[in-house]
Amino acid sequence: MGIKKVEFNMYVKIKLKVTVMILLLLIGIPFSNIYASEQEPIHALLLYDGLAKGSSREGNVETMQRLLASYGIKVTQSTFDNYKKGGLAEYNKVIGIQNLDELSITNEDFINDLKIYKGDYLHIGTSIPSAVQVELNMVTNMLRDQFVKISMDQFSESRIHVKNMSYIVQAEGTFYGSIMSGNGDVRSPYGVRNDHFAYVPYYEQGNLSELAMSYVLKDWLDITRQGQTYLIFKEVYPFSDLKLLEKLADKLYDAGIPFMVSVRPVFMNVDYPAMHRYLETLKYVQSRSGSVLVNAPVVSSTASQDGLTLQTQMESFVDVLADYGIAPLGIGAEMYWSYDQQYAEYGMNFFDSSILFPNKDMRYWSRTDSSQPFASSLYSMQLDFLQQFDHNDTILQDLPMDSAITYDFSDNEVDMSKIVQTLNDSWITFADYRYGQHTVHTQANRIVSDNGLLTLNGQDVDLNDAYKNIGSEYAYTVEQEKSFAKLFNIQNNVFIVLIVVTLLIFGFLFIIGYRLYIRKYLNQRRK
């Protein structure tokens, strides 16, 4: 009876869904949007023992967070110590990072929960839980104070110094890359994975392990889509050298390199000629295969922050861009913004696409352990980072995740020319951001990019609008209308004349009086 009821309910649900879909199709909402809104991001739990500050492993938790974001994963982070019983059951994907060699995982709740855990678990570093060792039938050993070579896909890097590193002696599953000790004694896979469990012995920021991890992660997360590489310039201000930015856009356009700019938002004086020049340049950039992203504002203090202020300001800037025919497609921000409830809710909510830069100057407002996921998020890295690795092919293959080669825009023309030359020589195929699906919506505007087409409230964005030279004429101060201005002016002059005359007469009388006074004494003395 019960089973029949469930079947009936399911039948009704499916029927309802089909009906709604047909209706939506009829009224013209793109199918992709329906799909996007229904697809829930994967929610992963990221556990770590510590941030390893002051050691070579410092920063690897943050890098992992950025990597997971680039795969569109919603992350909840916690330390092993703070783990609460039953927590694993809430997630299908759990990652554990053990950074401290001398300490093992002591949280019994975690150890016991892992034994009965049905989802996927990836362990990184030392202190490998017995469940992982058993599942992968894995034996490991330690390498101490040695130089190793790591290879992954087309990349390899020699002379990576490791202090204490586990390596896989024996395991069952799919192997990824390789680790080779400097003297050639040890040769082991970089990582191993079976259906549920995976293990990577070494993960640090700044060397090939940072990149190698993305290969293991991609398969472990069941991501099938190949990543693409983009190019982005940040630090674009309204008072940057706008002419140089236009020149840069021209050069990249001529070289066939599509690019993005993460532009600083402006919240005041948006009607000034300076702002119009800024907008005109961004529009020009857009016409030269440039995509515009809104960079997060600088937050000076969170003491008296008000969410609505940030929301209104961000919304107004997006609207200013849209009203000028510029289609912003995402937000560029330091990664910690996505781990802050207020920034995520009031500053990032307009965008379904982002690029998360490494944290530089963290000013949390309302820190949270769970991240804001994005349908599209790029992994920011510098070209120097990639170029430090040896690679087999001349052409650099796309990385597993969507990534963005990131540069700071500077006012130095020589530097910018060098960058263009380097990019030309780099053999990287850069993708056009506009070919991805990105949506930005405010109350007044809905900006969509899909398959290279930019639309603003359903209308195609005109990319060939003529460039306008903006002059300097502008009424900065509104002269207040004065009543009887002429009359008061005359009155002022009359008073000035009267006062001057009075002073002169007063001075004259004073001199006469003084002379009379002196004369009186002189006369007395004479007498």
Partner: protein
Amino acid sequence: MSVSKVKLYIMNRFVLVSRFVSPALLAATCVLFITIMALFIPPYIGMADNGDYFRILYGNGLYFNTPDYDSQYFGYFIKHFGIFQYFNENSSDVISSQSLFIHFSVWMNKIFYDQQVFDIRFQAAMYTLLYTIAIYLLVESLTWKIPKKYGYPIAILAVLMFGDTGYTAYFNSFYGESVVIIMMVFMLASGLLLYRNRYNDYVLLAIFTLSGFLLTTSKQQNAPVGVIIAFICIILIFIRKQKTFRILMSSSLLILLLAGISTYALIPKEFVNINKYHAMTRGILMESKDPEVALSAFGIDKQYAILDKSIYYALNSTVDVNSEILEKNFYSQYGFGSILKYYFTNTGQAGKLFDLAAKSAFIIRPPAMGNYEKTVGHPAGEQTTFFSGYSLMKKALTPRTFGFIVIWMAVVVGLYIPSFIAALRAKNIRQAIRLPLVVTFILFGLSGILVSIIGAGDADLAKHVFLFTIAFDLVTFVFISDIIRRCLLRGDQEGGV
């Protein structure tokens, strides 16, 4: 009892009281009593943090230990702070004489109260004591050897003006203004006591130098104070003929000059940037008819016009005030000198800013900060009216324009000139120092306004022009007292003895 008998009785009592209670003692006691009532008896009066405490607090071994501290900014006065128990990694952001007072009060706090929690009232107690002494000396300098019928009104005037909680509430705060108030009073009092030839000259010289030094180094914007004293008070060297005195006095002035220069030189870069930012965005650009033209006068890209009227403290902004782009293309293009030159060539703009400054120059208590603790139950930002008659009256009645300041200066200086000339003619230098002292204090006030505008535009004017506020009150007090005691035009007979 007939009327004449009552009169006689009162007169007798008055004579009896005046034998034991001098006007100076009366004024000091009243100020002490009122300040104790305000600061040490519930509801305690103090000042809310406007975000500035952080700089001075953490560098001096204290920290915010109130859980919801952030929500009480501007709103409520907080009296308890934590004392760092272990190594304090916060290097002192601000080099200020205020640190000496904080360290001393923390030390007292540790002895008498608690090792871990600092009660700001220990600091208030120390300031109150110093202030009482300063008020005593000030009133003594004006009432010594003058008829009691003149002395007591002067004492009452002093209580009304300087017992005002607009001033004394600062003692329950970490603002540098507390030091400014006390040291200004000490400086003027010691200067006037030298003029009146009351007390030992060497002791007064020490008080004058020390208070001038602490005043100059209390806040970065007080850097010109040392320079002003050093130049205007050269005349003090000649009040005695002894070589020792002259050498000591010259050395004191030199120390004050160096203190002024070093205070300016030691301003942390971050403050330079914040103030430099405001000097342009809240000063030059704000009052300019065409910000792009104004920028071109400094050789700055006209695109920076977009920063017109912006403030560093804006919650969300386009650019970080310490960013490389501003360092390279904005701050490097102007400085104190070029801004001063700009205002000289654009007097209309300068006039507008002076008027703007004058609007805040007569407000003793900055309107932004609350005076009560949260537990008292008053709304956030509420200010006390307890013994605030003078500050309220001043705010309501003074014509708040720069024109008024000019007239005030002209009247004060003009009316002190006759006695100055007379003293010079009589070759009585001691009698001549009153005018330079008054001019010194007027210049303190003007430097307060000028430095605020050139240094930070109209940003935070109510607090920045505090130096003028106190200088105006001190000079006006001396001026009115001299009218009361009939010494305005002819000077004092006691001087130069």
